[in-house]
């Protein structure tokens, strides 16, 4: 499981230098996902900085949050 040494792309540079503070683990992100996604859809709610930072740094959790938000935000059809 090794290969030629990698060169950093500009996209990788940005991702490596991303500030992901305040800390939130993937486990805590999953634990809080439902309530935070409902809060994100509430225009009066303030997003949790730790949740926002985690989603910026973790594409898998961000995809799950986006999928959950899209699922519960679907307007009923007549």
């Amino acid at each position: 499981m090794s290969g030629p040494a990698a060169r950093l792309t500009s996209q990788a540079v940005q991702a490596l230098l991303l500030d992901t503070e305040p800390w939130l683990s993937c486990e805590d992100c999953f634990h809080l996902l439902d309530q935070h996604v409902e809060a994100v859809l509430d225009p009066d709610a303030r997003p949790d900085p730790a949740f926002v930072a985690h989603l910026a740094g973790c594409p898998a959790c961000a995809e799950e949050a986006a999928a959950l938000a899209a699922l519960i935000a679907r307007p009923p059809e007549g």
């Binding site: 499981m1 090794s2 290969g3 030629p4 040494a5 990698a6 060169r7 950093l8 792309t9 500009s10 990788a12 540079v13 991702a15 490596l16 230098l17 991303l18 500030d19 992901t20 503070e21 800390w23 683990s25 993937c26 486990e27 999953f30 996902l33 439902d34 309530q35 996604v37 409902e38 740094g57 973790c58 594409p59 898998a60 995809e63 799950e64 999928a67 959950l68 899209a70 699922l71 519960i72 679907r74 009923p76 059809e77």
Partner: protein, 230 residues
């Protein structure tokens, strides 16, 4: 095993359209249903709750597999249906194991959906990478000695400084994890499975990598104290 059909399979668009109509019809009754009471009941009341919960899992799994279908080598209706049913079963098992942790801080349906969405993402990405080898590569070592920050603007290459910082501030393990996740873009749950670890452990490694690199580059004058390019 191939699925033998007597009639042509419906198009994916028709399946998705029909699925959305089912979702809209069921949403309001599912939100109002007392899920915890039903799932903790016995007899027919529990069976009814389990049946409804499975439908909920199929709905969320279908939603996420549909979103991610572009990652699948085979996104035929039969394969998608197989994945959705597999994911729904796994998600239902995971949810029932955590039922006593539901605290009512969100709607039960939102809480339940996340289990299926999590399982669906993992399964689609696992299939996407099942025939691909994951290489754990190191970062290339820049040939020249590191110039000071006064030369950085002329060089204009933060990637070179960052490569140097990775060799100076990170362990070989941290560099390989960072390269796999952020250069080679191996999905974090796929890498976790290959390395027999967890998504959370890999994310913690990545978080430490980012913190160390930012601190190193601030100390060397290549980033300002706010993390911007100096």
């Amino acid at each position: 095993m191939p699925i033998i059909r007597s009639e042509p399979a419906p198009s994916l668009d028709r399946i998705e359209s029909a699925r959305h109509k089912d979702i809209d019809r069921d949403t309001h009754t599912d939100i109002a249903f007392d899920w915890v009471a039903g799932l903790n009941a016995t007899g027919r009341e529990r069976e009814d709750a389990l049946r409804r919960l499975h439908a909920l899992m199929v709905r969320a799994a279908g939603h996420q597999v549909w979103r991610l279908r572009g990652l699948l080598a085979d996104d035929s209706p039969g394969t998608i249906e197989d994945i959705v049913n597999l994911v729904a079963d796994d998600a239902m098992t995971a949810l029932l194991g955590k039922l006593d942790t539901f605290e009512g801080r969100s709607r039960f349906t939102t809480w339940a959906f996340k289990f299926a969405i999590y399982q669906a993402g993992n399964e689609v990405r696992r299939r996407q990478w099942q025939h691909r080898q994951v290489e754990l590569r190191d970062v290339a070592t820049p040939a020249d000695p590191s110039p000071g920050p006064e030369h950085h603007a002329e060089a204009g290459d933060l990637a070179v400084e960052l490569s140097r910082a990775m060799h100076a501030a990170l362990t070989p393990h941290q560099r390989r994890i960072a390269v796999a996740l952020l250069v080679d873009e191996v999905p974090i749950d796929v890498l976790a499975e290959r390395l027999a670890t967890t998504r959370g452990a890999l994310y913690k490694t990545l978080h430490d990598v980012r913190s160390r690199l930012r601190a190193h580059l601030v100390a060397s004058g290549h980033l300002d104290s706010q993390g911007g390019i100096a």
